[in-house]
Structure formats: structure tokens, C-alpha cells
């Protein structure tokens, strides 16, 4: 048992340490920054939970909020857990290493699952707990009930854990032999996104009665929804049911362990074989470097998935907003809404530049293969430029793909398109340069889990933290000169970015080359 605890702890530390990865900062400041960022990420969820409680407590049925949030959190956890299991367990790097240790199979699987469990508990605390606590306070529960609620809080992740394990097992069995594992992760990632955005829109104001009706009808089939709701309103009988159910779930999960282990080991050892003819073809050096950087981004499943998921956010928001009528096309195209329309067009199209900070991990992504480009007879500056171009190409393609539907849907006029394109291109360029500079200062090459390289490391957070400064530029212009047309604001801001870009290029080129040479591979 002690060994299990140690193993679970290592797994936990390994998983959560990626949030702190790439130190180099003064530890206290870094931690403060980290907590601040995490708080910013957590806040919307808590706000949603509290908001739902408020809506229903006005209607006099606060326990409905608990029911709704329970349903939400179960769905949410399941969709989070599936990609988690796929990337950290089925295709995770360290399973082979763990398998070689003299440990019972149950320990290995439980240690992996316990990381996921902790992760789910955090989600639970953000989504379900606020509504549950507020409802409990509303009904003036006794200490005993608070204890029961605490146990419920601990038990809620069990169901999503079991569901996601079964689904992950099934999908791996079905699709992995065909080498479709990237597709799989992307599929579930998109599912999660749809869920989040859908829920957000559903919770908004007048839709709450619809949400409640759904919850009620689902609760008719899926009793735990009612149990949790009644329990938080002060009924103890339901706790027994809930406990019983979770004992059954735990037993089910236990039975699943050997299968999970076998299937995961099987899929770790399985890789799709690419066929094709052996051909000899000469390409230019610059083209080859660019291809290499693009391949690193697109053929590493975690990197590609991350890129696509980030890009999917603005697309889905837009889609859902249009379809649910939050963004009425006929109103937006009216002349008095021109200002809003331009802002919508530019922010949606600039989303890749703002959200995808590919340059901030341009060097980190190489990991232990970084030495390759250092040995090759390539000028450092060309090497760096090809990394910036990689970012640029991906961003521009993404902006085009996202911007085109908006142009067609809302009939954006040419002057706006052109000035917007100029704005976005210059913004993309200057951000690509600044991000690369960040990465050069903090290369962070010795990661083992690709997720640590591209997500949640401090470089990424830094570069995101810089983004608002750039958005302030157009706001500044339109604020100072209210008479200035939208196109002029965009052009002026673009010029500022262009100037900034040349300034950085002029003054930091030597610094960037020096920093690159200093990286210890």
C-alpha cells in the first residue's frame, strides 16, 4: 500500500509539475503569477455555478441548481477524462517504464487513475461544489449533512472515471489498429469544447428553464441527479443510495483494471507504419527546415491536437453564437452596427495570432532532438527565421480559414478586409518574434511528456499575458480619435506593430543569435 502511495505521488507530482515547469524565475514571483493565472482560469467556472444557483434560488428551487450542476460536472468530467486517459495512459510515455518495475498491475493503473481523480476533483470543486455549498447554506444543513456532502464530493468523480475508462477502452480497441489515435483525441477534445460552450450558452439567462426541463427529464432516467439534489436539500436517505451506487462503480472499476492495463500496454507498443516509395528529391535548405518545423508541430499528436483545439475555440463560439441566435446576422449587417461587426471580424480573424503562441514553444517543441539543427551547416538566423515562418504560415492559414466564413456570412466590405488583413498580419509577425525571444530566454528542452512542452508552461503563460498590451493599441486609437474610421484605426495599429517589429528585429537580432548559441543541448 505504501508503494502505491509513493507511485501515485510521483505520478501526481509529474503531472502537476508541468504547470511549474521551466523555472528560471524567482520562485515566489513565479508561484504568485501561476496562482493568479490559475485563478483566472477557475473563476468563470465558479461564476457559472454561482450564477446557476442564483437563477434557481430566485425560482425557489435551489436544489435544481445542484441537479443541473451535477449533470454538467459528470458530463464535463467524462469528456475531460477521455482525452486525459488516451494521452496519459494509453499513449503516455512512461507506461513501459512502469511496467518493468516490480509492482502489481493494480498499483500501476491505480496510480495513473489517481492523478486523473485529483484532476477531476478540482473540476468538481469548481463546478459542482459552489452550487452545492450555497444550497446547503440555504437549507441550513447540520454538521452531519456537511460531512455527507463532503463524501459525495469525493465520490462524484467515480462515475466519470468508470465511464471514461470504458469509452477509452472501446475506442482504443476500435480505432487504434488503424493508427487513428490522433483523430480520436481530437474528436474527444472537440466534444469537450462543444460541451463547455454549449453549457455556457445554455446557462445564459432566459435559457435556464429549458436547462431545468432537460435536467428533470434526464433525472427521471438517471436517478443520481435527483439524489444529489435532494441530499443537498437535507434528505439523508438519498445518501445511502448514492453510496451504494458508488460502491458498485468502484467494484466495476476494479474489475476493469487488468483490461485497462493490457490494452494500454498493447497500444503503447503499437505504432502505425507509414508506407510509401523510396524517392530521392532535392529541396532547398530553407524549405527543408520549414518542413521539419511544421512536421514537428503537426505529426506530434499532442502538439497538433493542442493547436487544433485552440483554433476550434473561436470557430465554435462563432458557430454556436450564430446558430443559437445570439449573433443575429440580419442585425449585425445594419449600418449602425458596423463598428461591432468590424470588431467581431477582426477579433475572430486575429484569434490564431492571439491564442496560438506557437513561437513561444518553437524551440521547446524540439525537445531532445534539438541538437540536430545545431550540428547542421545552417546559419543561426536562418534557423530562427524558419521557426518564425512556421508560426506565420500556420497562423495565416488559420486566420484565412476562420476569416473567410465571417467575410462571406456578414458580407464584410473590401476596405475592412484589406485593413483587417494588414492589422492581423503585422500583429502575427510581431507576436511571433516576441514569443521566439521568450523561448530563447527559456528554452526548456528536456521534457518527457509532450504536453508539458506546449501547454501550461510559463513561456506560454508569459506570452499570453503580453497579448492584452497589443489589443490595447487599436483601442487606444479609437478612444483618442473617435472620429477615426475603423479602417484607419486598423491601419494605424498595423503600422505601430510593423514599426515595433522592425525595432525588435533591428535591436534584438544579435541577442537572439547569441541566446540561441548559448542553449545547452
Amino acid at each position: 500500500m505504501r508503494r502505491l502511495a509513493v507511485l501515485a505521488k510521483i505520478q501526481l507530482v509529474d503531472f502537476f509539475s508541468k504547470y511549474k515547469s521551466g523555472m528560471g524565475l524567482r520562485a515566489r514571483r513565479a508561484r504568485l503569477f501561476l496562482y493568479l493565472t490559475l485563478f483566472c482560469l477557475a473563476f468563470p467556472f465558479i461564476q457559472m455555478s454561482v450564477g446557476v444557483y442564483q437563477t434557481f434560488s430566485i425560482l425557489g428551487r435551489p436544489e435544481s441548481a445542484v441537479a443541473l450542476m451535477y449533470l454538467t460536472v459528470v458530463l464535463f468530467m467524462s469528456f475531460t477524462a477521455i482525452p486525459f486517459l488516451l494521452s496519459h495512459f494509453f499513449y503516455g510515455g512512461d507506461l513501459q517504464f512502469l511496467a518493468a518495475l516490480p509492482l502489481p498491475v493494480e498499483y500501476i493503473v491505480l496510480a495513473k487513475l489517481s492523478t486523473l481523480y485529483c484532476y477531476l476533483l478540482i473540476i468538481n470543486s469548481l463546478v459542482l461544489a459552489p452550487a452545492m455549498i450555497l444550497t446547503g447554506i440555504n437549507y441550513q444543513l447540520t454538521a452531519l449533512f456537511w460531512l455527507l456532502l463532503f463524501i459525495v464530493w469525493l465520490l462524484v468523480p467515480l462515475l466519470p472515471l468508470l465511464v471514461s475508462s470504458v469509452v477509452a477502452l472501446g475506442t482504443v480497441k476500435l480505432f487504434a489498429p488503424q493508427g487513428k489515435k490522433n483523430l480520436l483525441s481530437i474528436f474527444f477534445g472537440f466534444g469537450l469544447l462543444f460541451l463547455i460552450i454549449g453549457i455556457q450558452l445554455l446557462m445564459g439567462g432566459e435559457n435556464s428553464s429549458v436547462a431545468e426541463a432537460w435536467t428533470l427529464s434526464i433525472g427521471g432516467y438517471f436517478r443520481p441527479v435527483q439524489w444529489v439534489a435532494r441530499l443537498s436539500a437535507g434528505s439523508a436517505r438519498e445518501f445511502l443510495f448514492f453510496l451504494l451506487l458508488n460502491l458498485l462503480l468502484a467494484a466495476g472499476l476494479w474489475r476493469l483494471i487488468p483490461r485497462l492495463y493490457r490494452s494500454a500496454l498493447h497500444s503503447v507498443n503499437q505504432t502505425a507504419v507509414a508506407k510509401g516509395r523510396i524517392t530521392y528529391r532535392q529541396r532547398r535548405k530553407a524549405v527543408q527546415l520549414l518542413r521539419r518545423n511544421l512536421f514537428i508541430l503537426l505529426r506530434q499528436p499532442v502538439f497538433m491536437m493542442n493547436t487544433l483545439l485552440i483554433l476550434a475555440v473561436p470557430c465554435l463560439m462563432l458557430l454556436i453564437a450564430v446558430f443559437t441566435g445570439e449573433l443575429p446576422i440580419d442585425l449585425m449587417v445594419l449600418p449602425e452596427n458596423r463598428n461591432r461587426l468590424v470588431v467581431l471580424f477582426v477579433t475572430v480573424t486575429a484569434a490564431p495570432a492571439l491564442l496560438l503562441n506557437l513561437s513561444a514553444t518553437a524551440i521547446t517543441r524540439e525537445g531532445r532532438t534539438f541538437w540536430e539543427t545545431k550540428v547542421l551547416p545552417v546559419e543561426v538566423w536562418d534557423n530562427l527565421r524558419s521557426r518564425m515562418w512556421t508560426t506565420l504560415i500556420v497562423n495565416v492559414i488559420a486566420s484565412l480559414l476562420i476569416g473567410l466564413p465571417v467575410v462571406l456570412l456578414f458580407g464584410i466590405e473590401w476596405p475592412v478586409i484589406l485593413s483587417g488583413a494588414f492589422f492581423i498580419f503585422t500583429l502575427t509577425r510581431v507576436l511571433a518574434t516576441i514569443d521566439l525571444l521568450i523561448n530563447l530566454y527559456r528554452p526548456y528542452l528536456d521534457w518527457t511528456n509532450p504536453a508539458a512542452a506546449i501547454k501550461n508552461n510559463l513561456n506560454v503563460l508569459f506570452s499570453l499575458a503580453l497579448r492584452p498590451l497589443f489589443l490595447a493599441v487599436p483601442y487606444f486609437f479609437s478612444f483618442c480619435w473617435t472620429a477615426l474610421g475603423e479602417e484607419k484605426v486598423l491601419c494605424l495599429s498595423g503600422l505601430v506593430f510593423l514599426l515595433l517589429h522592425f525595432l525588435i528585429f533591428g535591436s534584438c537580432k544579435d541577442l537572439m543569435i547569441r541566446k540561441f548559441n548559448q542553449i545547452v543541448a
Partner: protein, 248 residues
């Protein structure tokens, strides 16, 4: 010298020092010269600084002080020209592996701008020598450790480099591949190329090296023709090695 034609210096290290942490020196004031056309062995116990030295020669890490000249070109001053003169096989075959073997070889060939006909001939020659040719259409990620190493060796031979640098090249290769590699190294020298490699395997060093350098705790403790070192001490290489790298 007496023939009037000065022997060309392919690799010169001048007082090269490397410190990773600013306190201890992993390599300390190392000076040595490798002449064109020789096979040069670089030996020393674990942690002596062999890999560190090779990383400095190949430009992977910059030396803290000192100068490295490759074929008469200062590595720090004109890195690209210097790098065109050598290729390198590391001790750990960690390369980007989501591409096929042939894609990797084409990539390397493009970096050294090798014409298609030449690269095809060399790929076929070397990949077939190592029994890798049939696997070139597979993703590198499914290669075994030894196969990756063979792929790296093939890639490093593609540009027919003046200086061929290898770090522990024989570790992880099967006996046939090891023999093939030794043959290739000898052949490379016969055609005027230079080989610089590090190794633990004394008998390999003894078999094929023209000269050896022994390094211990970052310092050069011997550097000469093998027969000369042996003559002077009257021991075999193993005894000499143990003697030289013994804790003082």
C-alpha cells in the same frame, strides 16, 4: 614535412575549456591536433569529458574558453563553413522520429546540398551495407535503437565529410554492423577522410586507430601514436589506460 608538403591539420583544439555550472570544469585546457587522413581515437573513463568535447567540436555547446579550428576554419567565427566540413553521430540516437528513414536521409542530403544522383548512390550503398534499405520507408519511430543508430551513421556518411565524428559509435551495434562500421571508417581514411571517435572499447581503438588521446577528468593525459605510448611504458593498452586514469 620532408616531402615538402605539410600535413594538413583537420581538427585543432586550442586550450579548450568547458564549464557547465561556472565552477567545475568538465573539460579543462584541452589542446590537440588531428591530422587529415588519420583515424583518431578519444578514450577515457565515464564522465571524463569525451561527450562534452565532441559537443563543443560539433557546435552543440559553445566552449567557455579556447578555440576550435576545423580544416583551418574557426568554428566560432564562421560556424556554417566549419560545419560543412564534418558530420556527427551522437551517442544517443535521439532524432525527430515522426518521419520515414528516407525522409531523414533526404533532409540531411539537402542540408549539405548533395545532388540527387549522388545521394541515391550513397544511400543505397550505406543503407544496404547496414541492412537498413528495406526499412527506409518506415517511420523512424518504429526503428530499434540500433536501427536508429545505423540511420544516423548513414546520414552522416551521405555528405562524404572531410571529418567524420562519432561518439561511442560501436555501443549498441550488432557484431556485423560494428565490423561494417570499422571497415567504413578505414575506407573513409584511405580515401583521404579523417575520423575522430570516442570509445570505451580498447581493442577497437587498438585495432583501427592511428593515434589516440586519453582524457581523464577533463584533462588530456596522453596523446600519441599507439605504438609509441606502448613502447614508452612497455604495457598493453588496458594497463596503460588504467594507469593513466588512475586517481592520483
Amino acid at each position: 614535412m620532408d616531402s615538402g608538403k605539410e600535413v594538413q591539420k583537420m581538427l585543432v583544439l586550442e586550450e579548450v575549456t568547458k564549464s557547465y555550472d561556472g565552477k567545475e570544469n568538465a573539460v579543462e585546457r584541452l589542446s590537440l591536433t588531428v591530422k587529415a587522413g588519420e583515424i583518431f581515437g578519444f578514450i577515457g573513463p565515464n564522465g571524463a569529458g569525451k561527450t562534452t568535447t565532441i559537443k563543443m567540436i560539433t557546435g552543440i555547446t559553445a566552449p567557455t574558453s579556447g578555440r576550435i579550428m576545423i580544416n583551418g576554419i574557426d568554428l566560432a567565427a564562421s560556424p556554417v563553413e566549419a560545419k560543412l566540413n564534418f558530420t556527427y553521430v551522437p551517442d544517443h540516437p535521439e532524432i525527430f522520429s515522426s518521419i520515414r528513414g528516407i525522409d531523414y536521409l533526404n533532409f540531411i542530403a539537402d542540408m549539405y546540398e548533395i545532388p540527387v544522383a549522388q545521394r541515391q548512390a550513397r544511400v543505397e550503398k550505406y543503407a544496404k551495407t547496414f541492412g537498413l534499405y528495406d526499412k527506409l520507408d518506415r517511420l523512424i519511430s518504429v526503428y530499434s535503437h540500433g536501427m536508429k543508430q545505423k540511420l544516423l551513421i548513414c546520414g552522416a556518411l551521405l555528405p562524404n565529410p572531410r571529418l567524420f565524428i562519432l561518439d561511442e559509435p560501436l555501443v549498441g551495434l550488432d557484431p556485423l554492423a560494428a565490423k561494417n562500421l570499422k571497415d567504413i571508417m578505414r575506407e573513409h581514411c584511405r580515401r583521404g577522410g579523417t575520423v575522430f571517435f570516442s570509445s570505451h572499447l580498447l581493442e577497437v581503438v587498438e585495432n583501427i586507430c592511428d593515434r589516440v588521446a586519453v582524457i581523464n577528468k577533463g584533462r588530456l593525459v596522453a596523446c600519441d601514436r599507439l605504438e609509441k605510448i606502448k613502447e614508452e611504458s612497455g604495457h598493453n593498452l588496458e594497463e596503460i589506460f588504467l594507469e593513466l586514469t588512475k586517481d592520483a
